[in-house]
Each structure stands twice: as C-alpha cells, then as structure tokens.
C-alpha cells in the first residue's frame, strides 16, 4: 500500500514497512546520517538522523513511516543538535582530517560541512588507540572509529564472517576483531569483503592506495553529501 507523510512541508510517498529515512531517500531528500546505510539493517546509534515527528524527537532510520506524519528535519534547532553530535564524534576520537587518507571521501567530515560545523567546540579526549597494520592489504586506524557498527553488520550479514564486533561499554566501547591475538592479520578478512568497503570514516583503509585520487578531486569535494546519490539511498 502506498501512503504519504510530510517532511519539512514536502509530501513524501512511502510503502508499508519503510522507515522515514528510506522513504525520504527514495524521494531524493537527504537526511544526515552516519550509522545508516541503505543496504544494511538500520541500527539507530549515531542519532545524526534524528528528526521531529509530530513534535517529538526520533531517529528517522529506525522509525517506520506512517500515514500523515508531520516530520521536521532541516530546521535550525535540529541541525544545531546534529552539529553538536558531530562535534562530539570529533572530540571523542582523533580526527585530524588533513592527515587522513579518507579526507574528502569521509562521511563524518562531509556531514560536518553540511551542518556548518566550524570548530570542535568541546575539549578533545585524545584517546590512546593503537593502529593495527598486521593485515597485508588493509590498515585499521581505530583512532577514527565512530562505532557505527557498519563493518560489524556487513561482516556478519553479508560476508558471514563476524570479523568485527564492539566490546567494552560506555565511553570505553571499542571495535575488536575475531582473533585471539586481537589482530586483523590473524582473521580471515579479505579486501573483497563487504566489510572492507563500508566504513564511513577512515578506519578500514586499503593499503598502498593512499592519495591515489588527489585531495580536491574526491567524492565530497565535487558535490556536497546532501547531493550524493549514495547517501540518499538512490544507489
């Protein structure tokens, strides 16, 4: 059955079972998000996609659309809150964009631009996270992990491997890999895994590829994230 709801005044059609972000994506409307990816089961942890539904805040990636909903997304209030969330993610990890290979291709960076984030605002946590270079083809730089669980879902649901998982709790939550040594090189991870392609930030990096495309000519250098088909779900 097809119905509609409104998003910032615009009428959005949807079919039963679609979440707000899926329906918006299909209609070409961008809602900022980091842990959502159209190919994976929604997770609802980053909260960047939060919208107001009939006046109440809710994550649009997990909330099913229903007929007649009134959804607000691109308001100054909500974007200010989203900006604070990106600032939190920046200070929680070690995100030094100019030195990151993912710069220009990074969803966190592009989202920060989209939201007009000018500074990290909060004091940096400077966590101490070691890099894992044990794998012949892939480097893991945990410094930038935003705990979105996309690699976890991809490895589990698509690759059938469970290479990644989250451990720890609270601010100590961190990514682990499936090896007694704790090193990626001792897992069955390969470059052709789906999990090798999903990281929205610069954690899972293909070795010997750095700067193959010069900065300035990368994905989000060419078009802002809000106009990138991939992120509206139109792929």
């Amino acid at each position: 059955m097809s119905h509609t709801f409104t998003l910032d005044g615009k009428t959005i059609p949807f079919v039963d079972g679609q979440t707000i972000i899926q329906a918006a994506g299909a209609a070409g409307v961008f809602i900022p998000h980091l842990c959502y990816h159209p190919e994976f089961k929604p997770h609802g942890s980053c909260k960047l996609c939060t919208v107001k539904v009939n006046g109440r805040h809710t994550a649009s990636c997990t909330m099913r659309a229903s007929p007649g909903m009134v959804v607000e997304s691109e308001t100054e209030e909500i974007n200010a809150e989203r900006r604070a969330l990106t600032q939190m993610l920046f200070v929680e990890g070690n995100h030094f964009c100019p030195s990151c290979e993912k710069s220009g291709n990074c969803q966190l960076q592009a989202t920060a631009y989209h939201l007009g984030m000018m500074s990290p605002h909060y004091d940096h946590f400077f966590p101490n996270r070691a890099v894992d270079a044990s794998h012949p083809e892939v480097l893991l730089d945990f410094n930038r992990c935003i705990l979105c669980s996309l690699c976890v879902r991809a490895s589990r649901d698509v690759d059938g491997k469970n290479v990644f998982a989250l451990s720890g709790r609270g601010i100590k939550t961190h990514l682990i890999v499936n090896a007694k040594s704790g090193e990626l090189g001792d897992t069955d991870f390969t470059l052709s895994d789906k999990a090798a392609q999903v990281c929205p930030v610069g954690v899972i990096l293909k070795k010997r590829q750095g700067f193959a495309v010069p900065i300035g000519e990368r994905k989000f250098d060419k078009a802002p994230i809000s106009e990138t088909a991939e992120t509206t779900g139109g792929r």
């Binding site: 609802g44 909260k47 960047l48 805040h57 809150e81 969330l85 720890g168 609270g170 890999v177 007694k180």
Partner: protein, 632 residues
C-alpha cells in the same frame, strides 16, 4: 596450582562442564561467563577458545559480551576481587577511608591486582546496601556494615588465603531493616493461596472464555480464570513499580493478545536488576518473601498464558541465588510451578534465574532482554515492544519485583480491595528504600500519597536540606517542597529515598551521580556515550575550581541534547541531578565560580603533578602559580 594460572586443560574442563549444564545454548552466555569466572577467577583467552568451540559462536561475540559487563574480567584478576560500593551514601559513611585502609594493609593500589595475583581492590556502583553501608562485594558476595576492625580482619583472611566459604558467616549477614510495614510486608502469605484464589475466580458463565490460548487452551471450556484475573489487575489500577508506572493490566493484556508464532511461547520476566543508586527494596522483598514474588509471576503467567519465566537478578545480589533456587525447587515440589500447576491441565509454567554482571542499563527492559539472550545489554529500537517481540522475539512482559508481589496480593484479595488503598491515581502501597542522613534507614512501606515530610519524620531525619527521590534519575526535593507527595500524580518513584542534611555539599552529590551515569552509559548512542563524559568532565572542572558561568550554559545545552537525542531513559535523565541542584542549591555551584567569564579546564600546575611525583619534589619551586589562582 598457582593462582590465576590454571592450565589450559583445566580451564577447558571447567568450560565444558558449565557449557554442558547450559545445554550448549549461546543465549545463556552471560550465565556461562559468570560461572566460568567463578571457577577460574577470570575469563582467559583459553576459556574463550574453548567456548568458541563448544558453543559454536565466534570469538568476537564472546569478547563483545564479556567486555560489556563490569563484573567480567578478561585480564587476570585477583583470587579475591574486592569492590567497594561507591554510592553517595556509602561515601557519606566513610567508604573511601575503608578502601584506603584495605589497600594500605594489603599493599595494593586501587584498581590494580596485587603483585602476587592474590587480590584486587576497586570501586563499583551502588550495591544496594545503602541502609547498612559502607558495603563491599568480594567475589560478588556482599559484606555490609564495614568497620575498621572488620577491614583489618578481612585483610588478614585474604593474606591467609582463607577460602571465602570458610570466612565467618556473620560477615555475609545482611539486614532487612523493615521500619514500616503495610499490606505487602505484613502479608501473612501462604504459598499457593493467590493462585487458588485466581482459579476460584473463574466465572462459570463462560463470558471471559473467549480468546483463550496456551495454558488456557488446555482448560475445560467455559473457565475464564485468566481473563478474570486480568480483570482484577485492571480493576486494582496497578501501575508498575519499576519507575515508569505503566499500567500493568494493559501491559499484560497486550501480551496476552499478541499473536504467537509457531513454536513460540509467552514469557514473564521479573526485573530484579535494581540498579538505581539508593534503591534496595527489591532485595528485601526477595529475601523476605520470595514466594510472594514468584507467585505474582505465576499469576501473571496464568493471566497472559505464559509458560516460561525469568528472574533477572542483579549481579550484586548473587549471594541470594542459592536460596532463591531452593525456594523455586520447593515450589515445584508443591506443584506451584512445573506442569499442570494446582492440577489445572495445561497450566505449565516454570521460572529460571539469570544473574546479571554489573550493568545498570540492564534494568532497562529491552536491554535486560538482550542480556537474557546472552548479548551485550544495549537497549533495543522500539517499536516493536517486548509485549509483542520480546525474549527471542516472543511476547514478553517485564515487570518489577514489587509489581509482581502486589499482583499476587491482588489475585488473592481482589482488585477493589487494592484500589481502595492509596490515592485516586496511585493505587496501593509503595516500598521506599530510605538511606542517608537519618536515624533509621531501611524499608518503609506506605500507602501512596505520603508526604516527603512524613517520611523524613518517620525515619528520624533532622536538619534535612534535600531528599533525592527515585535516585539519580529522579528528582531532588528541597525543603520548600517537603509537602509534596509520593505518587504518580506528583513525585513518582522506583523506591530510592536518600536524605541529605545541612552538612552535605549538594554539588558533590550531583557530581557523584554524574560519575555514575558516565560509568553506566551503555555506549550505544552518541549523545549519551559522549555527552555523559562531557558532563562528567564539566563537573570535575567545577570541582577542581575552574568553574565559570559559561559552564552552566554548557550544562544546559548538554541536557537539551541528551533529552532530545538519546536512545533510552538513561541518557534522557542523566543531567537531572545537575539541573535540579543548580536550580535548588545554586550557592554550592557559585562558590566554585572563580571567574565571571570563562576558565579553562587545563591547569598548568596540575599538569606538573605527575612530574613532581616522579621527581619526588614538592617544594614551592616545583609549583606554578597560575593567573587565576587555580593552583591547588
């Protein structure tokens, strides 16, 4: 065998035994990890190796779960693992001095394992012994009412490597401290009588017999006992006692009406996680009258048509496990659990106890269910709700311990009897766990509608400046509000009632609570995971004498964000204690403001303290005096 140094073979043996007892069921992961640790002192890589094989789950899953719970150790830990309760009331009773005394006596640094691998000493959140603090847990067994002498004796026993089982039993004795009893605590209850009453209430006209399922399907047609029981619960106007106050009858009805998939069953869960600092009434109910609680669960099972029940017992109450299991076994022998209960064909229901492992968030019902399923205790996305898609995707009700106890009494005495007690919107009685600055801490049962002032008077509180009702996530009430009442129409509560007299610094109270939330955030969602840490840092900044009005604005903003963006109730309420105390006890904050404008958190002189420690210098020349005088 050397401590902490079991051979891989021995470890594998332990794992095999435990895993076999749980029928190689990965949904029992938390129980398996707990028992392996009880036998091996920690969860070693070898233990995980073996679990991986015997349970057939990836290592990432085991490590992910083990890493989530505060009481699981994936690094070698002492043979004796001592955790001091760090609730504000334990602090007020001198827990810090006790911990320092034990550390000094055993030559161990807080948070570290002693060099011989014998002992580790650290802190944990509230252990639910606030009426008899300071308290500690040793290998998850509670010792309350600590004194300097007792600490010295404990140190001696540890040094002598005396097995815990041989320690004086008196150490492990805990008090119920019942100060005021009403219908629940006075209940002269005989096991089985509530169920008999429920069965007797079955109407003979068959009006309630429609929509019969599972254990009802086995009943002779025309008997609508379950429907009639549900009606009594609704008539009683019972609302959940776990804090949120959801109408119990509606929850049960939704579960009863939820469609069952093939092979699925309905589940009843008793939430005995009781993690809110200052709350200990569920502990007392379970130790005092477990039959009443189990019977309430069975009544619920009868009403909703459930066949399986769980008690989720917080890890801090591990010491009650054997006794509770004995009570369950006795009930089975009495035919109050098991098959054809009370001779009703098809009336099948049994209860298992799952023990938690130190995670406050597992009190949140969907996180609790995740934990029951052997996972990390992360709250689920809702909808769907547990009543339709709960434990292993089956219709599930989760209720507080006290809710089940009340339900048993309602089944026994009827809904009208219950509804007549309390106030219009809050039927029945409420157990309050009273602690802090008062002469008679303990459990007080009142009909709803009692005023804060009355409670303070009854517990012998004098010079009271504040009462924290319902723990850190509740509300801080100042003197001007002491005539407000406990009830859903005014101040709802899960049960904590913590008293602070005029000598207490309410800023430090709030700071303790903020540390609690930061420590207990599950880490799933960004606003709470990072926001509680930022809030903690701000409060520590004020504590360190670097506060300015700018910080208030920051706190306000964080509060807004946590309220609107967080995934669950923990994040929503994490700022409450700070906002309440800013609004009501502003002078405690003002005295920490040293600049009118902004003060950075970074303090040069403090940054040099580790250098001073390393060089052993602490003379005037080794200090910087900063511009704002922040050197302390």
């Amino acid at each position: 065998m050397a401590l902490n140094d079991m051979h891989a073979e021995a470890v594998a043996g332990v794992v095999d035994r435990v895993v076999a007892r749980y029928h190689r069921d990965p949904t029992c992961m938390v129980q398996i990890l707990r028992e392996v640790q009880e036998a091996c002192d920690w969860i070693s890589p070898e233990a995980i190796d073996r679990m991986q094989v015997t349970l057939g789950v990836p290592r990432t899953k085991i490590e992910g779960v083990a890493g989530f719970y505060a009481f699981f150790y994936t690094e070698p830990r002492g043979k004796y693992r001592v955790l001091f309760s760090d609730n504000i009331t334990d602090r007020m009773l001198g827990s810090k001095a006790m911990m320092d005394r034990l550390c000094n006596s055993l030559w161990v640094e807080r948070g570290k394992v002693s060099e011989d691998g014998l002992v580790s000493v650290a802190q944990t959140a509230c252990t639910g012994m606030c009426d008899q603090g300071p308290a500690l847990l040793i290998n998850n067994y509670a010792i309350a009412g600590l004194t300097a002498e007792r600490i010295d004796e404990i140190a001696e026993l540890i040094r002598g490597k005396v097995p815990l089982a041989e320690w004086p039993p008196a150490y492990f004795k805990t008090e119920d401290n019942i100060r005021r009893a009403d219908i629940l605590l006075n209940a002269d209850f005989k096991p089985g009588e509530a169920l008999l009453a429920a069965r007797a209430r079955a109407p003979s006209d068959g009006l309630n017999s429609s929509n019969m399922r599972s254990w009802r399907e086995g009943l002779p047609s025309g008997i609508g006992g379950p429907g009639a029981t549900l009606d009594e619960i609704k008539r009683a106007n019972l609302r959940g006692r776990g804090g949120a106050g959801f109408t119990t009858g509606l929850k049960w009805e939704a579960c009863r009406n939820a469609p069952l998939k093939a092979g699925a069953q309905r589940i009843v869960v008793c939430n005995a996680d009781e993690g809110e600092p200052g709350t200990f009434k569920d502990r007392v109910l379970l130790s005092r009258n477990p039959d009443l609680v189990f019977e309430g669960m069975t009544v619920a099972a009868y009403a909703v048509g459930a066949t399986r029940g769980f008690v989720y017992l917080r890890g801090e109450y591990r010491y009650m496990l054997d006794h509770l299991n004995a009570v369950l076994a006795h009930r089975r022998r009495q035919n109050l659990l098991g098959k054809d209960i009370l001779g009703l064909p098809g009336a099948d229901f049994d209860i298992e106890i799952h023990v938690g492992a130190g995670a406050y968030i597992c009190g949140e019902e969907s996180a609790l269910i995740e934990s029951l399923e052997g996972k990390r205790g992360t709250p689920r996305n809702r909808p769907p709700f547990p009543v339709t898609n709960g434990y292993l995707d089956q219709p599930t009700i989760v209720n507080n311990v006290e809710t089940f106890a009340a339900a048993a009494l309602i089944a026994l005495n009827g809904g009208d009897w219950y509804a007549a007690i309390g106030t219009k919107h809050s039927a029945g009685t409420k157990l309050l766990s009273v602690s802090g600055d008062c002469e008679r801490p303990g459990i007080y049962e009142y009909p709803f509608g009692v005023s804060i002032r009355q409670v303070l008077e009854d517990c012998g509180a004098t010079d009271t400046q504040a009462a924290q009702v319902s723990g850190p996530s509740g509300i801080c009430v100042a003197e001007a509000e002491f005539d407000r009442i406990i009830g859903f129409e005014d101040i709802p509560t899960a049960g904590a009632f913590t008293v602070f007299d005029n000598t207490r610094d309410m800023f430090e109270v709030a700071r303790n609570y903020v540390h609690f939330f930061q420590h207990e955030s599950c880490g799933f969602c960004t606003p709470c995971r990072v926001g509680t840490s930022l809030l903690k840092n701000l409060m520590d900044k004020l504590h360190n004498g670097c506060g300015s009005p700018y910080d208030f604005t920051e706190i306000e903003k964080l509060n807004q964000l946590l309220q609107s963006m967080s995934h669950c109730g923990l994040g929503h309420t994490a700022c409450n204690p700070v906002l309440d105390t800013i609004a009501k006890f502003r002078p405690y904050y003002d005295q920490r403001m040293i600049q009118q404008d902004f003060t950075p958190a970074f303090d040069l002189d403090r940054a040099l303290s580790s250098a001073r420690q390393m060089t052993g210098r602490d003379d005037a020349g080794a200090h910087l005096v900063s511009e704002n005088g922040g050197a302390a």
